[in-house]
Symmetry: C2
Subunit: 180 residues, 2 copies
Amino acid sequence: MPKPRILPNVILGLLDNHPQMSGRDIENEFQTEIGEFWQASHSQIYPELKRMLADGWIQMVDAQPGDDGKVIRYDITSAGRTHLLDWLHEPVNSDNDALSSLKLYFIHNRTSPTLTSILTAEIRLHRAHVAHLQEREQQLFGSSSLIEQQYGHYLILKRAIEREQNNVVWLEQTLKELKP
Amino acid sequence: MPKPRILPNVILGLLDNHPQMSGRDIENEFQTEIGEFWQASHSQIYPELKRMLADGWIQMVDAQPGDDGKVIRYDITSAGRTHLLDWLHEPVNSDNDALSSLKLYFIHNRTSPTLTSILTAEIRLHRAHVAHLQEREQQLFGSSSLIEQQYGHYLILKRAIEREQNNVVWLEQTLKELKP
DNA sequence: TCGTGCATGTAATGAGTTACATGATTAT
DNA sequence: ATAATCATGTAACTCATTACATGCACGA
């Protein structure tokens, strides 16, 4: 099966929050706001908009008074909104975990159940990852001290453990503060 | 200019540490040891080995007694080792920073100057990144409290800051422990 | 009027994944 | 014997990046 395409979901998320965007507007978002976490070039965006239009996820809207000539503005359709929500609610697993941060970007309300569900699933995954990395550390550098012979490998393993542990702490703290 | 290819450097790094590897051996490394941090499939590896052979970075070695039939084993050449070292010593900047961890994997000696230089450059970059993210936080969520309207965005920005700060602390600590 | 930015579009290239494919060896 | 694994190789497809390209609007 082919890899799931992310870009259309991102575009839907942007249109859901800012109606009547043009392709250029979307490109600008990728260079500023969401650009910290995700990028796309205009040569991806324009063909993607065409496809989404054909799929009925977005629709063209009339040009606004201030617009000059060739601007094309889009709105998300109800079919598009359904697709977006389906994507946001897809169960978080080790394959798609990297997209969790991106999904969070499109959740605007702190009381959203989707938010809680993503954070909870992430905690589970990253705890498991910490355990896996610690096991690797034991296997590789536990008994016989090969640290000095493979110092770089040792360092990045240590860094990965540190990063994942910190991530788990942050997730737990964030989830806790969400509750009350 | 086309994107720099990473795979040949990774293969050189592996061959530098384990002589006389076959394509299959390299594939196995990608699934186990280094697989935590980098992956490649055999359909990339085999053509890449051919190219590297043509470039003179590696050479074939005679099959070992236990080998069956079609195994092809390779060694790194002095030209290959030069290329590997050049890559490891490339200045760390914001474009190639993501590869720093990968490079560390190929540094076996804790007294290596390359190690110090990479860690020092990383500290500089990630400090700058923290500053940039904090500035974004101020811009977006500083004065007027838009946090509740863009809660997901707020969260991933916070997480990014936390992650980068933790990274800087780890780098500083690691560098300090390297010195004495 | 001339350069720069806006807004959209297509083409060429390259890198990676999945799938297809073959022959040899080893285990059941 | 035959199924699974080893070891190598090629082909098809997708995705993303870079480059190429057009026409309009606006300011110097």
